[in-house]
Amino acid sequence: MKYSALILSNLFRKKIRTTLTIGSFAVALFLFGLLAVVRGAFNQGVEVAGTDRLVVINKVSIIQPLPVSYDERLLRIHGIKEVTHQNWFGGVYQDERNFFAQMAIDDDTFRSVYPEYVIPDDQWQAYMGDREGAVVGADLAKRFNWKLGDRIPIKGTIFQGTWDFNIRGIYHGKKVEDDTTQFWFHYKYLEERESAYWKGLVGWYTVKVDNPDDSVRVAKEIDETFSNSPWETKTDTEKAFATSFAKQAGNIQLLILSIGAVVFFTLLLVTGNTMAIAVRERVRDLAVLKAVGFSDVFVLVLVLAESVLIAAIGGALGLGFAKLLTFLIALFGDPTHGMLPLVYLSPQIVVAGFAVTAAVGVVAGLLPALSAMNLNVVDALRRV
């Protein structure tokens, strides 16, 4: 491009200033990337929630159980294809900081309701043949350096005592966003060992519907079916369930948006000021360009291009560092000890980051660019 020398040379007219402005963009976009990672981790369940799945919990609270006998009654409701159930175990592995989700699953139905989790058949068969068998997510196995055949002691908090499990399978997700930090074991094992306390009870049900468009009707029918019973239900789509679950940690979305908005507004002021100074310093040069025959619109675009270029370089650096950080976390381990099960900067976030950066670049450069465009050549050339 024949104008590149003109744009680039102006960019590095004041090297320190340009570097600092690029640095502010880089820091802001790095922060944006980190906030997006945190938000993504909190909303992970929401992002990957199946559109054809409903979650049925006890109407009082999710920590209250439901009878296992609801299984067959649910299957009788028109529009429900499959039903599975799960139980939150809530145990501790070695240290309370080593948080990860442990769940007792219904072996017969779990895999068909959650097809996004992939486990080799031979491993599944090994799991099925071991009463104390467990299947763990690939990220979880990597985190604790677990291998097939390892014996893992988990200290119960809800269900007392130490529970020993044998790792018989390691599952992967079909997508990067799929949660591979869970620990599954047999519901039957839980029920047998806690027969006095937990016989015939499950934590919640997940049902798969024939048609996602039918979800609202099915959810309503489920709750009506069990109304006025000792175990009333509350049914929601998996997405809504995951959202309300994520909100238990507070309105992370609002928090992140607020921080992001403040950062970008500050950045807007800083960059706008920088560009205004840059234009003011070279009023004479811009006047010469106009005198030579460059149009007003060209001068406008020139200043805007500089502003956007600064933003783009800073944005690329910031997002690059954020991406690098997620790689390092994947390489060296999660510093949050499992509080953020997914540390992943998605391509969509990178694109969104660039879009925001470009927008800030344009807005910040607009006023200085307009003043450059409207510059009176004669007046500007008279200035010393």
Binding site: L6, V292, V378, V384
Partner: protein, 245 residues
């Protein structure tokens, strides 16, 4: 032939009729140019002299399409520029006018080559053609060996030569020089005037020069004095070209 009586026959390269320029400064109205007439032929070298504030630079700005007159017309090579819109006037400037400024006005972050290349970026010339033109212009001003130097690495006289190369590189219809020696020592000023003189003689350029320097003005074919908003011929004019008033 240069005339200031409005009696040109219409074949002049530059034709000015009844040119008026007024400025409003607060409540005061300043009448800088008053019904000015001028005819300049192709290849003429005209120097404008006059006291500060007499309107020399204003006249040059009007002739170069940088400013608009309050009344009157300016016609250059058959195009009347006084009624052109802003964008058309910009386009016209790119094709017809080469500016040489007192303060050189080179862009400090561009090399001599890049500064001279600027007007050519507005043309459809290829990169190789632009290079050829720039090298030729720098050769004409004797700075082919300073192609990649930045303005800060050049002396004042050399900077002005680069400014002249920039003005001539696109082969404009005429050159407008606003005190091109005003910021130079005598020796550099003489070199610059030698160069301008050569552009007129060897390259048949039409040059309109504003200067305070009688020695510089001496090089012109015709010297015109601006006094109270009107042009009057100088002594030099009678001697060399015969101004008709």
């Amino acid at each position: 032939m240069v005339r200031v009586d409005g009696g040109g026959d219409g074949s002049s390269l530059v034709r000015v009729r009844g040119l008026d320029k007024k400025y409003q400064r607060g409540s005061e109205e300043i009448h800088v140019l008053q019904g000015l007439n001028l005819d300049v032929d192709k290849g003429d070298f005209v120097a404008f002299m006059g006291p500060s504030g007499s309107g020399k630079t204003t006249l040059l700005n009007l002739l170069g399409g940088l400013d608009l007159p309050t009344a009157g017309t300016i016609t250059v090579a058959g195009d009347e520029i006084t009624h052109l819109s802003g964008s058309k006037l910009t386009h016209w400037r790119a094709r017809h006018v080469g500016f040489v400024f007192q303060m050189y006005n080179l862009i400090p972050v561009l090399t001599a080559f890049q500064n001279v290349e600027l007007p050519l970026l507005l043309t459809k010339l290829s990169k190789a053609e632009r290079r050829q033109h720039v090298e030729f212009a720098l050769e004409v001003v004797g700075l082919k060996d300073r192609t990649h130097h930045y303005p800060r690495q050049l002396s004042g006289g050399q900077e002005q030569r680069v400014g002249i190369a920039r003005a001539i590189v696109a082969d404009p219809t005429f050159l407008l020089c606003d005190e091109p020696t005003g910021d130079l020592d005598r020796r550099s000023a003489d070199e610059i005037m030698d160069l301008i003189d050569r552009l007129v003689r060897e390259h048949k350029k039409t040059v309109l020069l504003v200067t305070h320097d009688p020695v510089a003005a001496e090089r012109a074919h015709v010297v015109l004095h601006l006094n109270k908003g009107v042009l009057v011929e100088g002594q030099k004019a009678d001697e060399k070209a015969g101004v008709r008033a």
